[in-house]
Assembly symmetry: D2
Homo-oligomer: 364 residues x 4
């Protein structure tokens, strides 16, 4: 009986592969908070740590302070709503995927700032030039239609896929041609940049977008996202932070964390770990013949599993049922992170293998 071999205790809590924010912060980050705790700092983002973090991020991008301003906010929803509210006029609209985080996971945050979302279907989790152009064309009946002005996309996407430089360039060219700004949600930008599929540098992303943000919350910080804003859009940006409650009095809390993430490659190391864990799980599923519902390009695995296996796995692991296909099958989402314990991943895979083997035995 497999359950005994993997978990002796009756009471063992299921291990979470639900998301990439179940744990706190990487210990190095907490230690930095402790180490810097007693220094007195200027408030509201003017502290030395925030400034150092800005400098480190600019170095990674390979841009100067004349090219970009950087702002730290506590959450991804803050990053999105502030970025959009800051650069759109009231009648301007956002083009987004139907699966876009702003379209279905932020409780109407963008609309609450007054802006319409124009929703487009995803292909492999991504925006395509065809759909983008169609959305632009179908929203030109002025002034009866809100005017498309910004393309919002996420990299990595909501299903964990990654934009190639070629893909992003195509979209950016359409945007430029149609006077659209391009905003990249980088809640999982670390895992995108560390994907084997990725062929972009941070400088490429900076060049091809108008605003992008680098997620800290899902990358090992307690919280915090760094918004990189091209200089010509940066004027007055900090007012928006303040107005939306995202300008923390102790801005140091975000600054210190981003210093740790970027001063010696921790950000990338943690993202690589997350991706590696996902690939291990993904590879195991593939080797056993379970079909993936999306390519595993970053730290998310979408796989079609039989109901019985799902239920067995749920005894020891927590994860989302993404889509109930029918009574017998479901698409399951498994998310790994900087904190994912490889021992647990190995147990997970063993569990899958054992169940599959026992099943095959029974069928024979």
């Amino acid at each position: 009986m497999p359950s005994t071999s993997l978990c002796q205790e009756e009471t063992c809590t299921p291990y979470s592969l639900m998301d990439d924010y179940s744990e706190g912060a990487h210990p190095q980050i907490l230690e930095a908070l402790l180490r810097t705790n007693s220094t007195q700092q200027v408030s509201y983002g003017g502290d030395e740590y925030s400034n150092a973090a800005r400098q480190l991020i600019r170095e990674k991008i390979n841009c100067t302070g004349d090219e970009a301003d950087i702002f730290f906010v506590p959450s991804g929803t803050s990053a999105n709503l502030i970025s959009i509210a800051s650069c759109l006029r009231p009648y301007e609209a956002v083009i987004t995927l139907d699966s876009g985080h702003i379209a279905c996971k932020e409780a109407g945050a963008i609309e609450a700032t007054g802006h319409k979302l124009i929703v487009v279907p995803a292909v492999d989790g991504k925006m395509t030039p065809t759909y983008l152009q169609k959305a632009i064309q179908q929203n030109q009946f002025f002034p009866h239609m809100a005017k498309p002005r910004l393309l919002y996309l996420s990299n990595a996407s909501e299903t964990g896929t990654v934009y190639t430089k070629c893909e992003l360039s195509s979209l950016a060219a359409i945007c430029k041609n149609a006077s659209l700004l391009l905003l990249m949600d980088g809640a999982r930008l670390g895992t995108a940049l560390c994907s084997t599929k990725n062929d972009m540098t941070l400088r490429d992303i900076f060049d091809l977008t108008d605003i992008f943000w680098i997620g800290g919350t899902k990358a090992g910080a307690l919280m915090g996202e760094a918004i990189v804003v091209k200089k010509d859009l940066a004027e007055g940006f900090v007012f928006h932070l303040k107005q939306h409650g995202a300008l923390l009095a102790k801005g140091r809390t975000l600054g210190v964390q981003f210093v740790e993430l970027f001063r010696s490659g921790l950000f990338f190391a943690l993202a690589s770990h997350a991706n590696h864990m996902a690939r291990k799980i993904s590879a195991c599923f593939e080797s056993l013949g379970y079909p993936l519902a999306a390519d595993t390009e970053t730290n998310q695995v979408f796989v079609v599993l039989p109901e019985l296996l799902v239920r067995r796995l749920q005894e020891r692991f927590r994860f989302y049922i993404w889509e109930q296909r029918d009574d017998e099958q479901a698409v399951v989402r498994i998310v790994t992170s900087w904190a994912t314990d490889e021992v647990q991943v190995d147990k997970f895979n063993a569990w899958v293998q054992q169940w599959t083997a026992s099943k095959e035995l029974a069928t024979e």
Copy 2:
């Protein structure tokens, strides 16, 4: 050559069948404005004409002042945005068809009041129970998703179709069950009620909705819509009118017009005329074998025509190319109104018949 026979003058202006608001107001309405012009009235909707209009509308609905409040606003967009803003909390969303007026013809007016639109495909221009239920079910991931709270629909629909009592009852039952309010946009409610397809009274509509409005602009008034609000939603409603610039100082201007429309059946007579004109055009197309793209249930005709006929018609008439099917065919929208001249309709039909006959002759 047909053109000579129908229009001798080189310079004759094309007759508009573009929309139902190309002319001013029915003369009886303008005369009433003149007649009442010099009396002194209380401002901001408290005048005797507005009160009389409210009373007349309540009589047509067969409801009392304890059941409904009635508010007059200058435009349909005002009616929609005020109705929605007045009864939703900031995190609540509206379910609408993708072709809904608020979704694609009001420049983001609803989002500008802070509310998300959840967009659903139309079937025969209408909301169906299946899509409504799906939209409700797919937006239950609280608090990450805005909460569905109001169903918006138009009767007649954007393609001129009409809800039956059975259809509206099904939708209303789903709404009630899911705690959704139901708002009916009645920009063309007159034509809907006068449709041969219609089986509802104003009382039915009042009973099955929470707010509905009766369009005056497209029904022979200079401007103005009457919003009928169930008593429990009416508290504070007038503040919304004021806040959105829709509470006219000379409210009498709207009141007088609605008195004229409702004191002796003018509203229904004008709508019937519009429908009759559309049926004549529609019947002509059908008799000649041109396929309709939508049933002609009210005052809009959607028909698939060959490009050559379209171009010929454009010499004498103005109308929308609704959809370019390919190089050879287009869906054309023809709209009639209270003001449509039957002589022009007959000319239009003759023109279609002549072109078709000459075409057949050529083909033989």
Copy 3:
């Protein structure tokens, strides 16, 4: 007994001197609506009457289409909220008098578009350079304070006073220096321009402001205001009209009215009449020694009257008690308009004289 001599009938309705929108429209305007009624026009403000009205207004201003765009909206609140929403970024604030229409008579319409009002005391109903500068200086603690970006003022003011060219120039210079836009609410601009106190042309006002609007509602139209927007602020303006429900399908209704007002000086003739009526009332009060609470520069009279006279006047006339000073005195507001009947004004004055005389007799 004075009451018998002035009004034989027991049941005569009090004549309203409450406001300048108690009657309908000047008959010439209604006749123009009738005359133009049956022509077919392009909708949403593209009609020939709106274009002609734009041309006429530009001629009065003495400016070209390259300098200014003109938009018609149904109400003053629409004009204010659209003008402000169209040119401010979300964190920018408006400086206004505490008595400003947007501050206390529009149900929070400006705040509903997201913008803060910075409120300053009025001096003679007007903004002063001192208070303006103080408001700017006290709101510089960025980014904690919303950034002052627009000065809103009304001409004529809420108490009927008028800005001189010197006064407006001083304010405009401060605005320019502090990068503030200047918006003039012209709900009663006609009476201001026709005031004996006025020394500005429409061109002066155009030069010294960024946006101003010309009120039609209080100047003899059924409704409607013409917003004059400097070219560099006009881009996208029409979207705001649409989004706020102020872009009427039958834009002709507003266009026709402004053509009548401006094609032959009707606008100015009506304003002059209103001012003249106010001066007659004002002069009567002064001659009898009743102190004015504000100079009568346009069509509003503010006068301090004994309670007993107030009550006597209320038997035959309607007007606002502006401020209850104590048990024995009150400030009363009397408003005249284009429609004010000089016979009634004479009766009003006679009534005041008779009461005063009888009072003096009694005291002797």
Copy 4:
């Protein structure tokens, strides 16, 4: 020479008495974050620490889960804007002091959610029944005026004063009578409750308000405020958090901190320390005859000082010049906190004493 005796090093950095958020968090809080870091938790506020913190706070209030819901947000501006947006309809307004944080330190955050602020002068930093009633009375011209619906006040006030139970009860009674909700901003509630002037329990505050929040940021946390919402206002509240970007994925970060603050009295101990430090400074000033500009009831000292003393103090300490009285005097604000070093306070006082003594010597 005093400078040598107090600071040997040429390069010593001035010690900040600018505000109560210059340092990080109390070490016990950081240690708790470290200790709990690796446990896996449910996201978005459903974690066990947040639940434990809610339970602890309810115990301090002495209320049950049926009476109040508690929500954690990252900043005070978030707490205010979410509380207000969640319980007001669009046309409802907030009454606040002119010095209220929402009125002048939050970049128009409340207006950005659509609501008007009605501003009232402060007396001793506080709202008075007289001004409150006047504000209510002067804003009753419906529907032209936004409707007063909520009283916002801060305890401790912006000038560090404290409401007594009698004062708050009077205001609460007026609110109840006028159907106003009462929201207490508790950014510095800890210092208020620990003031010698205070005579309220948390239960009193809970009973007298509808929503109040307990500030963590200024009380020793890295960030975070706990909003206590009466049950009947709590429905849907969490949507507002999400919509405004204040629902942190790792809600644990806030939960853990509030557990530490409330599990054994740390919250009150830290506030008491801050108050004690302020009293020491205040007492020193008073003993030397410098007039206080406000009573020192909590952790803020407002004192009128000669310019020369101000400049001397600035060599070693940082603080705000609150108001420049003239060339010779200024009101200075000194803020102490949980982190204020008593050694520095003693140095500060010594410095003041030495300068004063040397001055007196010179004068003799």
